[in-house]
Symmetry: C2
Subunit: 327 residues, 2 copies
């Protein structure tokens, strides 16, 4: 099976390569019957355009880059999926790189990625804005899950939902509530913490701040130890995976959720719904986040400066939050 190019088709049909090329890229500039014959022949020969050649000629790669800090964190697969799907709708392929949780590799990975694609979507970067901007250079980019000046950004705003979650706990008679801090380098952790503090102040609930803890199951288990030793009867975990560790850590101490302690997670990942007890959590519309990122990236690549987007999260009470134990 020899290589089939536009010239194979051109020769077979007695037209020029230019015409074949146009039949694909500017169909309206080719007479209908000629185009029909070209398309038919292309199909017959199994023609697939050589993307490298096209890219070289047009200067666009047709690919967008996606930087993810940790594909293994259940938050990201749905995001990756949404981004891929939106990209496919725009005939773009996506090249994904996973930092494997290494913050130090971040800048180098992003720099390399930026060189290979038309634009990049950076999810949950941990590095400083300056380093990130340096790595990006002039490549169009969208940052997801973190706000950053001079950059189009799409984030999930959980403040209102977190306040709702807080009210829900207060209504269940929890009078002192723990805030299990996420990693201090995480923008989302800082956001959530400040939203919760604000809620606690206005709701006149006593807030006990514990941590920071890693955003992992183990981090949650450590959090559980601190939580169990505190007077709090309910806690906000940084995310669902952490919450899951908290449930396990409490269980190891003979404390059962929601009977003895209540806990609310964040993100509503698969885990939150399959855990027993199901987690009360704040859900991020992850799919919309991804789709929006691709749309906005398209605008940036087109030279526009679209406004940043913030999507509201939503509180979903489930089984992990219950009435405060009566002592």
């Amino acid at each position: 099976m020899t290589k089939v190019t536009i010239y194979s088709i051109a020769d077979a049909l007695g037209v020029s390569g230019s015409t074949v090329s146009r039949a694909f890229t500017r169909p309206d500039q080719v007479r209908d019957d000629v185009r029909a014959r070209i398309l038919a022949k292309a199909d017959e020969l199994g023609y697939q355009p050589n993307r490298s050649a096209r890219r070289l000629a047009t200067g666009r790669t047709g690919a967008i880059g996606l930087y993810i800090p940790d594909i293994t964190n259940p938050f990201f697969p749905p995001l990756v999926r949404a981004i891929q799907q939106a990209a496919a709708d725009n005939d773009a392929s996506v090249i994904m790189v996973d930092a494997e949780e290494s913050t130090s590799a971040e800048a180098a990975l992003i720099r390399r990625l930026a060189g290979q694609v038309d634009g990049v979507i950076v999810a949950s970067p941990r590095g400083t804005p300056a380093r990130l901007r340096d790595a990006l250079g002039s490549t169009p980019a969208i940052v997801v899950n973190r706000e950053m000046m001079h950059t189009t950004t799409v984030i999930c705003d959980n403040s209102a939902a977190l306040a709702q979650a807080g009210d829900h706990l207060r209504d269940l008679n929890h009078e002192t509530v723990a805030l299990l801090h996420g990693p201090s380098a995480s923008w989302a952790a800082r956001q959530r913490a400040s939203a919760i503090r604000k809620w606690a102040a206005s709701a006149e609930v006593e807030l006990i701040e514990l941590g920071p803890f890693e955003a992992s199951y183990e981090g949650g288990r450590e959090g559980a130890a601190a939580f169990a030793d505190s007077p709090a009867t309910a806690a906000f975990a940084f995310d669902d995976l952490t919450a899951c560790g908290v449930v396990a850590g409490l269980a190891e101490r003979g404390l059962s959720v929601p009977r003895d302690r209540s806990i609310v997670g964040c993100d509503d990942v698969l885990l939150a719904r399959v855990l027993t007890p199901k987690l009360s959590t704040v859900s991020a519309p992850i799919g919309r986040l991804g789709a929006a990122a691709v749309d906005l990236l398209g605008e940036v690549m087109a030279g526009k400066q679209p406004a940043s987007l913030r999507i509201q999260g939503d509180f979903t009470p489930r089984q992990s939050s219950g009435p405060a134990p009566t002592t």
Copy 2:
């Protein structure tokens, strides 16, 4: 910031483009000091080779394709990561496509992918071998997680581990054990079923076959209903996610694991370790699967016909299996 090419460097240094090109691709063919100056200047100018041009010139894309049926299934992210890492070690990028669980889209997605890359890794395909081979055409390929004639394949062989798991249950005095079938289109499901049947026959344990059920949390809940109504005191779930659904479904019926029923999962995904109770499961060395796939793909691309690989799984008893309830 204007585009920097090999000629920017060549001009700045008074050498030819050929020499600059060689400095990168055939360093031994360039005098040491010249190469050093070129590399330094490239660095100074922030040179990034244009991949499209390189690809067009060499005829290789430097990319491998990865087809995944469902990125959202916790089995796949670690596989993706391992494959990416191994590819990066070989200076290849990976273009991933996710079928979003749509079996019907499989062939078309794979065909498109195959046209864009030097070789493809196909994970857990559901389609018939004929359709798959047709979609692949002459593109070098490795199939992961399914055996297939005339194709280099890397799979995890769980037979021995499943028999170990069975023995473990029998030693805990379970006399009748349920097999919750996975989806009938799944090669892995058929494999596991036959390994379990073989074990049951030789161990003289009564096996009750239930299902098939979907490979999902919901599928597991359905399985739990059938399991609860059966005389079995322990069950093999198709995978960990399903097992998780079984635990939840049993809980809804007031049955607790491992007190009232025992359950063993498969794959040892993150979920298995964060669930309470932690799942007894058969672990696939997912990372090795991915690394091996990339290695073998390299051989196929080099024109060799490497032998298929089967890696042994391992049984890991944890908390979800306990002594049979004494009636």
